[in-house]
């Protein structure tokens, strides 16, 4: 059986234009051997969900530094579910206070990485938890 390539998407929902972190991650995922769809800043949850489905990615990594994660992250999960794409894993990162973690986990975000998380730990999480479908 040929080896499946892991496809991931890195997206920035909302009005936050600080994409240095997202770009570093996209590059780091590339170097981990993943195919990385990078959609840039200022994306609506609707755009992100639609793109994730068109691209058939295994995982969507959301980055948000503006504080809107409580609204935007769960919305992406909800939209994917609504389109029958609940097999696409959603993880998040950025400036996210610890008291919000549970809310995001409950909403279906599978992992959260905040400043200080090593690139290796994020790649490791993906390699352990994501099996290319």
């Amino acid at each position: 059986m040929p080896e499946r390539k892991i496809r991931v998407m890195v997206a920035k929902p909302g009005l936050d234009g600080h994409d240095r972190g997202a770009r570093v991650l996209a590059r780091c995922f590339r170097d981990a051997g993943f195919e990385v769809v990078y959609t840039g800043c200022h994306q609506t949850p609707e755009q992100i969900a639609a793109a994730a489905i068109q691209e058939d990615v295994d995982l969507v990594g959301l980055s948000c530094l503006s504080g809107a994660h409580r609204a935007l992250f769960p919305k992406v999960v909800e939209l994917l579910r609504g389109k029958g794409a609940d097999d696409i894993t959603v993880i998040g990162g950025g400036i996210i206070p610890e008291q919000d973690f549970q809310l995001l986990y409950d909403a279906g975000i599978k992992a959260i990485f905040t400043p200080g998380a090593s690139l290796d730990s994020i790649v490791e999480w993906i390699k352990t938890n994501i099996k290319a479908r």
Partner: protein, 324 residues
């Protein structure tokens, strides 16, 4: 399988994208699905967009999508970006320029990584086009990886080829060279607000005057497209580009050249399929049995030559096929 084919033909994006993935990953079942799908393909108009990295292919593709949607055409886009030869990873970033169409159900954008292919596309591109054709897309835009002078696989897949150039890449000798400069049905001089654009236009025009027409009655147009950050003027130029591409499409139909191009496409498809069905399984088997290494050793030590080895491999393969 029939219900899958039916759903894809009805435009199911999830299943279509998954099938493209199966083709990319060379899942054996994908071949059978394409066989079934093939009867539903061949009706879309296929535009190729090619040119150097950063020339503006994705931005122009985005602008073309807008123009085509104004005319209620459904659009499929295949956007190719390079795979790392070291890690196998890839950044697929063409989509950034096209995200405003993400929610439009009449537009399906799928990114592909080259995965080692050297012709400007990926090996899966041909079948990915077939999937989008089966979905009933009126127009399919295939954006190649950023290319140099001779990654020209696009001519085997597209009906009309747009070559995107930017000023400042060299003198008029560059326009004399074979390869990229010969394949354009429409030229775009992009970023034409920059110095050197008019000179580039003149150079292309004089190159075109000398070009062999080969029985063709098509004047290759040169569309000068300025700064994408000047939206009004840019949109006007994008409309001109869309118009020129459509004129070329009409020309292909009326002159009978479309049939010629479809014949060329069919030949390329046979070539690709032969490689997939014959060459790849043979190489795979030789690798897994260790014979490939053994042959390489023999050749390295001058105990054999590559042609004799290839003949022996082919003979053994066909003898075994006969026995099956």
């Amino acid at each position: 399988m029939d219900s899958l084919i039916k759903k894809i033909c009805a435009g199911d994006v999830r299943l279509a994208s998954r099938l493209i993935r199966d083709i990319e990953d060379k899942i054996p079942e994908a071949k059978a699905k394409i066989k079934k799908l093939y009867a539903h393909t061949g009706k879309s108009f296929i535009i190729g967009i090619t040119g150097a990295p950063g020339a503006g292919k994705s931005t122009l593709t985005d602008a073309l999508i807008t123009q085509l949607r104004k005319k209620n055409k459904t659009v499929g886009v295949l956007a190719v970006d390079p795979t790392s030869p070291f890690t196998g990873g890839a950044i697929l970033g063409d989509r950034i320029r096209m995200q405003k169409h993400a929610e439009d159900e009449g537009v399906f954008v799928r990114s592909l990584a080259t995965r080692g292919a050297l012709g400007g596309l990926s090996q899966a591109a041909g079948d990915a086009i077939h999937v989008m054709e089966a979905m009933g897309k009126d127009v399919i835009i295939v954006e190649t990886v950023g290319i140099g002078q001779q990654e020209l696989d696009i001519i085997n897949h597209a009906h009309s080829v747009v070559v995107v150039l930017v000023p400042g890449m060299g003198d008029e000798i560059q326009t004399m060279k074979a390869g990229l400069m010969e394949i354009a049905d429409v030229f775009v001089v992009n970023k034409a607000n920059r110095p050197g654009a008019n000179q580039l236009q003149t150079e292309i025009a004089s190159m075109l005057k000398l070009a062999s027409k080969n029985g063709a009655n098509w004047q290759t147009p040169i569309v000068m497209v300025g700064d994408a950050f000047e939206p009004a003027a840019f949109t006007e130029k994008a409309a001109e580009l869309a118009q020129k591409i459509e004129e070329h499409h009409q020309y292909l139909i009326e002159s009978g050249k479309l049939t010629e191009r479809m014949h060329r496409k069919a030949l390329a498809e046979i070539n690709d399929a032969l490689s997939f069905c014959l060459l790849e399984p043979i190489i795979e088997e030789l690798t897994s049995t260790g014979k490939l290494k053994h042959f390489a050793e023999k050749i390295k030590n001058r105990k054999a030559d590559p042609y004799s080895v290839a003949e022996e491999i082919a003979k053994n393969y066909f003898i075994r096929q006969d026995k099956k």
